[in-house]
């Protein structure tokens, strides 16, 4: 048994299969960040720090004639979203019920996916994570209120990256509202705006709940590094006669290696 303590939960194999499957289905579309950055791992729950390859000065060494520095690492941080499942619902699923109420799990999956997106794109100062948008030295440009102005803004961002020598293809994370606008818009001549933007980027456009506006970033690789310890997993907390208390958990760090490989576009 590992730290997730799953064998202690009053959940059958079929119940765990249902919960894992539901969580995966809900998480996958919302995990925008890891679709656009370099994912390393998972390296396991014991993995605690990312090597930064840098050193920090030390005020003193054990010997006056010996120099010393300290290695710098970025500690992994943990995210955890709690949820509950009704014991009765689980038993009904074991009997063959197909309409099991997993709303609490769905909400937790969305919360933790949004938290991951926010950490990667906007940053998480308490975890010493600088987000892609915050790290970019490029001045954030407005996307504009009207979706028809998006191609100009996105093309401008791509040109800015090209001018800086950052090669493509490029990808774009779009906030919920901005994605909706893009998806529902057809330009003159009937061309879908989504297709037009994909052609400009030569890469993917990703629905990114938690992002406000958009972030255009290079997909050439090596610029944005996500270090996964424990990948998203469901663990057991406690239970009583009516309710099982569970959680979705992950540990990770994130490092921007090339700050100028992204351009933020504000809402």
């Amino acid at each position: 048994m590992n730290h997730l303590l799953r064998p202690l939960a009053p959940i059958t194999d079929a119940g765990w299969k249902l919960l894992d499957s539901e969580a995966k289905q809900r998480l996958t579309p919302a995990l925008a960040a890891r679709r656009l950055i370099d994912f390393s791992g998972p390296h396991g729950w014991e993995h605690s720090a990312t090597n930064l390859g840098r050193t920090a000065a030390l005020a003193a060494s054990p010997h006056k004639d010996v120099a010393a520095v300290k290695r710098r690492v970025l500690a992994l941080s943990e995210l955890r979203a709690d949820f509950t499942v009704s014991v009765q619902e689980l038993r009904d699923h074991d009997r063959g019920a197909v309409d099991v109420d997993l709303q609490s799990l769905d909400d937790a999956a969305h919360r933790i996916a949004v938290a991951e997106n926010v950490a990667v794109f906007d940053g998480w100062s308490e975890a010493e994570i600088t987000g892609i948008a915050a790290a970019s030295p490029h001045k954030a440009k407005p996307l504009g209120e009207d979706a028809e102005s998006y191609p100009r803004a996105v093309a401008g961002a791509v040109e800015l990256l090209l001018r800086g020598g950052v090669g493509g293809p490029y990808g774009m994370a779009l906030g919920r509202e901005q994605y909706r606008r893009v998806a529902e818009t057809a330009e003159h001549g009937g061309c879908l705006l989504l297709d037009h933007l994909r052609k400009i980027l030569d890469g993917p456009i990703v629905w990114a709940p938690g992002v406000d506006g958009a972030v255009v970033l290079s997909q050439r690789g090596g610029d944005f590094l996500y270090d996964s310890g424990l990948d998203l997993s469901i663990g057991y907390e406690r239970h009583d006669a009516e309710t099982v208390h569970l959680y979705i958990e992950e540990s990770f760090s994130f490092v921007v290696a090339t700050p100028d490989a992204a351009v933020a576009l504000t809402a």
Binding site: M1, N2, L4, R6, P7, D13, D20, A23, K24, L27, T28, L31, R34, R35, L36, F39, G41, P42, G44, W45, E46, G171, G203, P204, V206, Q219, G221, S228, L230, D231, L232, S233, I234, G235
Partner: protein, 132 residues
């Protein structure tokens, strides 16, 4: 072209098992190619041809390694056993026995998965849509 990588009727196999089988077949082909190049290199005397074949064999090393990493990511128990064997100095057979014993211990109640961290993971990784 045949569909020899399938041992069971393909239409009865889930999509992920078909993908797994394709990568297993690819892994086999890359290993065969590495062996063939090794033999060709052993008998060739033309230095230019040797350089080309060394380069080609390097490509097969890369392809084999990528196939293997894919398969290990999708198979936590295999990954855990491999971690105890690959890149470890010392007796390979000994490592193999120890690694298998450690990885399979206590896994009977976890549907064949190991008790390691990855066994209970949702297995999303960069499958959320690795687009590169």
């Amino acid at each position: 072209m045949g569909f020899d990588q399938y041992h069971e009727p393909p239409q009865e196999l889930p999509a992920e098992t078909r993908t797994f089988a394709r990568l297993c077949a690819s892994l086999t082909e890359e290993a065969e190619a590495i062996g063939w190049y090794e033999q060709r290199l052993a008998v060739e005397t033309d230095t230019e041809a040797l350089a080309i074949m060394r380069d080609a064999q390097g490509e097969e090393f890369k392809h084999f390694s990528m196939d293997l990493e894919f398969l290990l990511r999708r198979t936590p128990l295999w990954r855990e056993i491999a971690q105890g064997i690959l890149f470890q100095p010392g007796d390979i057979v000994e490592h193999g026995e120890e690694s298998e014993a450690e990885a399979t211990e206590g896994s009977e109640h976890e549907e064949g998965h190991s008790a390691g961290d990855s066994s209970d993971s949702l297995g999303i990784g960069d499958d959320a849509g690795s687009v590169r």
